[in-house]
């Protein structure tokens, strides 16, 4: 039975997403066994990240500098803002290397069940940016869920005061998707959004 520091390490690791107490024990043991190659560099990286990572005051992204590198990159189109729910969504869009505008992270979606209202999200910051900066388009890239879409509709209403074009990501058949395996909702959305080929 582990005690002291090892126990604390296991306890803390079990709080990480994807890890339960058993897998945390395995991971902790693996780290201890590879003290020089893994444990020490990981501890240093975590201490350094804890010191240096901050939230971008403009878009809400996480970076070591404020404003973040995306907000200060002069090669990016500053007239387009893509609104995403979380930093993970920004990373997903960045992986595509298709979008060359700026981002705005809401920090979640409106969720009556969880008691998350508009005041809990970074909607005010978005309205400020849309009203103040020379923004021509706001792309709403929220999830295609009831809460995600309700948030998008709410933001669309609020943005009507600003002189910007509001667009949303399309829904439809994913790449590699076979019609037979798609759900009714995706299929009907794809049919509604069909285009001339």
């Amino acid at each position: 039975m582990a005690t002291g520091d090892i126990d604390l390490l296991i306890q803390l690791m079990s709080k990480l997403p994807g890890l339960g107490p058993r897998s945390a024990r395995r991971a902790a043991l693996h780290l201890i066994k590879n003290r020089e190659q893994l444990l020490k560099p990981l501890a240093t990286a975590m201490a350094s990240a804890s010191q240096s990572v901050k939230q971008c005051s403009a878009c809400g992204n996480l970076d070591t500098v404020d404003p973040c590198v995306i907000c200060t990159d002069a090669r990016r189109d500053s007239s387009i803002i893509c609104v995403v729910e979380e930093v993970a969504d920004l990373w997903a869009l960045e992986r595509t290397a298709v979008f060359k505008g700026r981002y705005h992270i809401l920090g979640g979606v409106l969720s009556p069940l969880d008691g998350i209202g508009p005041e809990d999200l970074s909607i005010g910051g978005l309205l400020n940016r849309a009203g103040r900066d020379a923004i021509s388009e706001v792309i709403l890239a929220t999830s295609a869920t009831v809460d995600g879409k309700a948030t998008a509709h709410y933001i669309t209403d609020r943005l009507s005061e600003c002189n910007v074009t509001v667009t949303a990501l399309a829904h439809g058949i994913p790449v590699g998707g076979e019609l037979d395996y798609l759900d009714d909702g995706t299929l009907s959305a794809a049919l509604r959004e069909r285009r001339k080929s």
Binding site: P112, T145, D184, G185, T186
Partner: protein, 250 residues
């Protein structure tokens, strides 16, 4: 004895539980509002299934009757996906589910209410669905035992010119009898007098009045066990309709 049943249901809500599971609340045909755990319900594949308003075939199992139990569900119809791009319809669908969840007691069969909710959810893409929605809330008050009497005037017994509702008794009041007290009475839109959806479509202003009326009594009778008041989804739906009513009156 191990508990097990299968029933049709409408998804009312799905709260995330842990990393991968959700606590699913369904309005079922024979078992009323019933919650259960769905293992893997928060996963990528299952996420679209547990959206409010979807029709599912549910299989509930538990060791004892009063346990939370677990659900396995199969999608019958994805209603939420049909209205995702329509702000008012989406708000209405969310509101209907939230009101049902907030107002009905758990694990008590309400077969009539299940039927009316499924009719409403299925009709959310139709033209006069808001009218249906208001009538559905009126029916819900009746199902809860607080039905409004809109057939005759509370003061005179007259069946003509009924334009108010008494906030105390929930009974209609005629224009003449209610005139001295009109500040204290609730407006009664004419489409609620017939109680059917066959009448001509009502104006957004009348629909907003209808929601104000049902909202008043739901808050007093339906949600009174809940300190948090009406569900936020209903408030948002009412606000959205009021916005529409303001625009159309300009």
């Amino acid at each position: 004895m191990r508990m097990h049943w299968s029933d049709e249901g409408i998804v009312l809500s799905a709260r995330k539980h842990g990393e991968t599971s959700v606590i699913l609340c369904l309005m079922t045909a024979e078992h009323g509002r019933h919650a259960g755990l769905v293992r893997g319900g928060a996963g990528r594949r299952a996420r679209g299934l547990y959206e409010a308003g979807n029709f599912v075939m549910a299989d509930w199992r538990a060791r004892l009757e009063d346990h939370l139990g677990s659900y396995t569900c199969e999608l019958l119809k994805s209603n939420a996906a049909m209205v995702l791009d329509s702000p008012l319809r989406l708000a209405g669908l969310s509101s209907a589910c939230a009101v049902t969840e907030r107002a009905l007691p758990e694990r008590e069969p309400f077969p009539e209410h299940y039927r009316s909710l499924s009719t409403l959810v299925a009709a959310v893409e139709e033209d006069n669905w808001i009218q249906r929605y208001v009538l559905w809330e009126l029916q819900m008050l009746t199902d809860l035992g607080f039905g409004l009497n809109l057939t005759a005037c509370a003061a005179t017994g007259s069946r003509d010119h009924l334009i108010y509702v008494s906030p105390k008794s929930g009974q209609a009041v005629s224009a003449e009898a209610g005139s001295p007290y009109r500040q204290r009475l609730l407006p009664l839109p004419s489409f609620l007098l017939g109680g059917t959806t066959d009448a001509a479509p009502s104006s957004p202003q009348d629909l907003a009045k209808g929601l104000e009326l049902t909202g008043y009594f739901l808050e007093r009778q339906g949600f009174n066990d809940h300190k948090s008041g009406p569900p936020a989804a209903r408030t948002r739906f009412v606000d959205r309709l009021a916005q529409k009513a303001t625009i159309s009156s300009c």
